[in-house]
Amino acid sequence: MEKSVIGATFDAPAVDRYPAPNAGTQRWIAALGLIALAVVLPFVVSKYHVFELTMVMIYAIAVLGLNILAGYNGQISLGHGGFFAAGAYTAAILMHRYGVPYWATLPPAALICFALGVLFGLPALRFEGPYLALVTLALALATPQLLKYFDNWTGGQQGINLTKPLPPHWLVIDRDRWLYLIVLAALLLAMRIAANLLHGRTGRALVAIRDHPIAAAALGIDTARYKTLAFGTSTLFMGVAGALAAIVIGYVSPEGYNLFLSLSFLVGSAVGGIATIGGAIIGGLFIEFVPNLANDISDAAPWAIYGLAMLLFMYTMPQGVVGSLGPWITRSMRQIRAQRAAFAGGDEEHDGKGRTS
Amino acid sequence: MTPILELRAVKAFYGQSEVLHGIDVAVEEGGMAVLLGANGAGKTTTLRAICGMVRREGEIRFAGTRLDRRTTEEIAGLGVAHVPEGRGTFIGLTVEENLRLGAHMRAGRAEADLQRMYGYFPILAARRRQQAGTLSGGEQQMLAIARALMMAPRLLVLDEPSFGLAPQIVEDIFAIVERIRSDEHVSVLLVEQNARLALDLADHAYLMETGYVVASGSAKALADDPQISRSYLGY
């Protein structure tokens, strides 16, 4: 009963509402095609591009974490780089100090960041708008300072050097392509979890909170619990992304986790579309490639070009690429389908049933 | 007499949806017209359309000027003073500051006008240094009307001045509106739920329903029409 009420009142966000009901199989085929493409991709591009694409996927996981918070919970964080750093240092310290194999550092990084996120999220619930911005900004600024301060653990200013992990000996591929595949697997898993979270009961509750906090409370949704959970989940994603980044780059240092990193994630989220899953990949692409592109355009003032790109995206697509183009694409797709149906089924069949091909 | 305000086939929109479907309304020079109708009939929207606060189509003429292409600020400058739904007082500013804002567009000092307003509404003089938010509902309504008059308007647009006020205060306010109408030579367009009171004061009335004007005529004719009285005005 309660579920149906929620489902009727608070639908999934606009972007996910559009696919036609019988498009399920098509979507699966399309998804499998994309995954196959992603698996083949590293074997047709150069090694350096493989590294870049790996970073794109890592950033995408991080942006996905921010999307859960910003898009579905109505909270904007300027400081999630702090949790990215926590994940990175967890992995680095475990590998460097205790000789833990790289793959085994991911679960502890995830857990620690989830716990940190819940701890941070509890007081963060009291803040809104600019106040939340300040609190998260403080986190972003404190991160490098704290990393330098606790130098017996973090190696201080020097940071920690790591040896890049080798692929299993029975696999005849090189290190970078192996890491690419691992990160790809992590990204797919993260997207899957995010989709489940957001289409299921929990997700609808989160959307309800975002759009109608008072109504959500009236429906008996425990706002505080879901908000804390959302915060923890988003920081869990951050932690995993950070750990992967440490493994792939093979180096951590305080200055790599400054305010700029946190802001980059936020920009990636806004550019991709904050209420979306696919937008995270666009965000990852933006974070990884636009600075380089800006540098190519003007090596004198690259960040001015980067800033202009941000402005340009926000003016043309204020809801982000997926948020702005998504509805438009699905609408055109539906029109094409309807036209096809009209051709196949004659004039009286406009409802899509005539589409047998 | 020529109308000071004339609406011809005016439509208004909220987003994509049309909420006024081509209405004709006129206010005579020096006259008082009232829009009646249930909630959601489009009365407030009509006023908002006149003042350019919603997207609108059709022809709106005010003293020979077209209003339908102009912005809210320009329309105010032409001499249309709109007291909006909920009064629109600046609750964080003092009573006197509110009144001075009414004279914003006019050059020169507004002292004489201020004194005249304090003459109409002595209570405002007593509270001139107080924050408007601390006034009672009736006092805030008086402040809103006084602020509108500070604009030295030719047309006063009032959106439900009786809303949420005790009957005695409503009568006081309407008595002052009557007096102002003759003293200040200002025409009035009124939206009012209290039909009996409004029909007593106005000389012309329009009955609205779901975005259409369904009946119009002299206030007396409308008040005397038994069918209209029974089905719309509830007496």
């Binding site: 904007i76 007081p123 009291r126 803040f127 708008g129 600019p130 106040y131 911005a133 300040l134 609190v135 900004l137 403080a138 600024l141 404190a142 300072q145 704290l146 301060y149 802001l263 806004a270 904050i274 003032a301 690259p302 960040w303 001015a304 070009i305 980067y306 800033g307 202009l308 941000m310 402005l311 926000m314 003016y315 204020p318 809801q319 | 606060m53 912005t71 809210t72 600020e73 105010a76 400058g77 709109h82 909006p84 629109g88 007082t89 600046f90 609750i91 500013l93 500051e97 001075r100 804002l101 009414g102 914003h104 938010g133 601390t134 006034l135 009672s136 509902g137 602020r147 604009m151 949420g164």
Partner: protein, 289 residues
């Protein structure tokens, strides 16, 4: 005791600068519900303009006035060109636009003036006062800030435009009905904020030395000051800025090594905000319905 007073004084000097920038943030926030993250970089850029003018041989106060005028016009232009197109965009888009603006100004300053640190002249002589409790230069900074505050107060309290700006910030629809051209006032507000920021930049430049990243730290403390005072309260912004300046200085001197100064100062500020989520002066307006 003497040392404590000394520290409080130098905290007040920093606090005066934070207060100025906090005031600029509050003005924009009240008018547009937007935290302008680029406010600090705009101030930094203004300071470079002043530096250029002084280097071109202009007397200090002449350069000062011209810089304020240029900043005022620049602020208006930014509102018109950059901010107005996103009036109705989602919050995140607006945040990203101000961050983009921040990057653009920072990068442009680095490109035009390079990242080398520059000396910036102070108009005040540097002589100790009151038994080395403070200096004439520090008093000059505080004095300029106080004069600016008094002028701003008078502007908002006694001029027609100032009154209209307060009205437009409070209730834009009603302001329009009074014939007030709200959009133009919004641009004037951005202009004023930019000019106030320019004053903050010029005051702090002799102390911090001028480089493109000079204002990023100042912005963060100013932001904290604005929120501590209550983001919608100009008086709160000033008091909040001063409190942040003194707190930061005392924490750095007495509590902890300077490498964690910012972290601890922020922890304290956030603690206050947990206890008073609307800031010290952020009380609602008295209202009867």
């Amino acid at each position: 005791m003497h040392e404590l007073l000394q520290q409080i004084f130098s905290g007040l000097v920093a606090g005066a600068v934070y207060a100025s920038l906090a005031l600029a943030l509050v003005m924009i926030y009240r008018a547009t519900d937007l935290v302008n993250f680029a406010q600090g970089e705009m101030a930094m850029f203004s300071t470079y303009i002043a530096w250029t003018l002084v280097n071109a041989g202009l007397p200090f106060w002449g350069a000062f006035i011209i810089t304020l005028l240029v900043s005022f016009l620049g602020g208006m232009a930014i509102e018109r060109v950059v901010i107005r197109p996103i009036e109705n965009a989602p919050v995140l888009a607006a945040v990203v636009v101000t961050i983009g603006l921040l990057l653009i100004f920072n990068s442009l300053a680095g490109w035009i003036y390079t990242y080398t640190v520059k000396d910036f002249p102070s108009p005040f002589p540097d002589r100790p006062l009151f038994g080395a409790l403070t200096t004439t230069r520090d008093l000059g900074v505080i004095g300029v800030t106080l004069v600016m505050l008094a002028l701003l107060f008078a502007f908002f309290r006694f001029t027609k435009t100032g009154l209209a700006m307060r009205a437009a910030a409070q209730n834009p629809d009603s302001a329009r009905l009074c014939g007030i051209r709200v959009k133009r006032l919004l641009a004037i507000g951005w202009g004023l904020a930019a000019a106030i920021g320019a004053i903050a930049g010029i005051l702090v430049a002799p102390i911090l030395f001028l480089d493109p990243n000079m204002m990023s730290g100042v912005l963060v403390y100013a932001f904290a000051g604005a929120l501590l005072g209550g983001i919608a309260s100009p008086l709160g912004a000033v008091v909040g800025g001063l409190i942040v300046g003194v707190t930061e200085n005392l924490v750095g001197t007495y509590l902890i090594a300077s490498q964690l100064k910012l972290t601890v100062a922020f922890a304290l500020i956030i603690l206050v905000l947990v206890l008073r989520p609307n800031g010290l002066f952020g009380t609602a307006i008295v209202r009867r319905v």
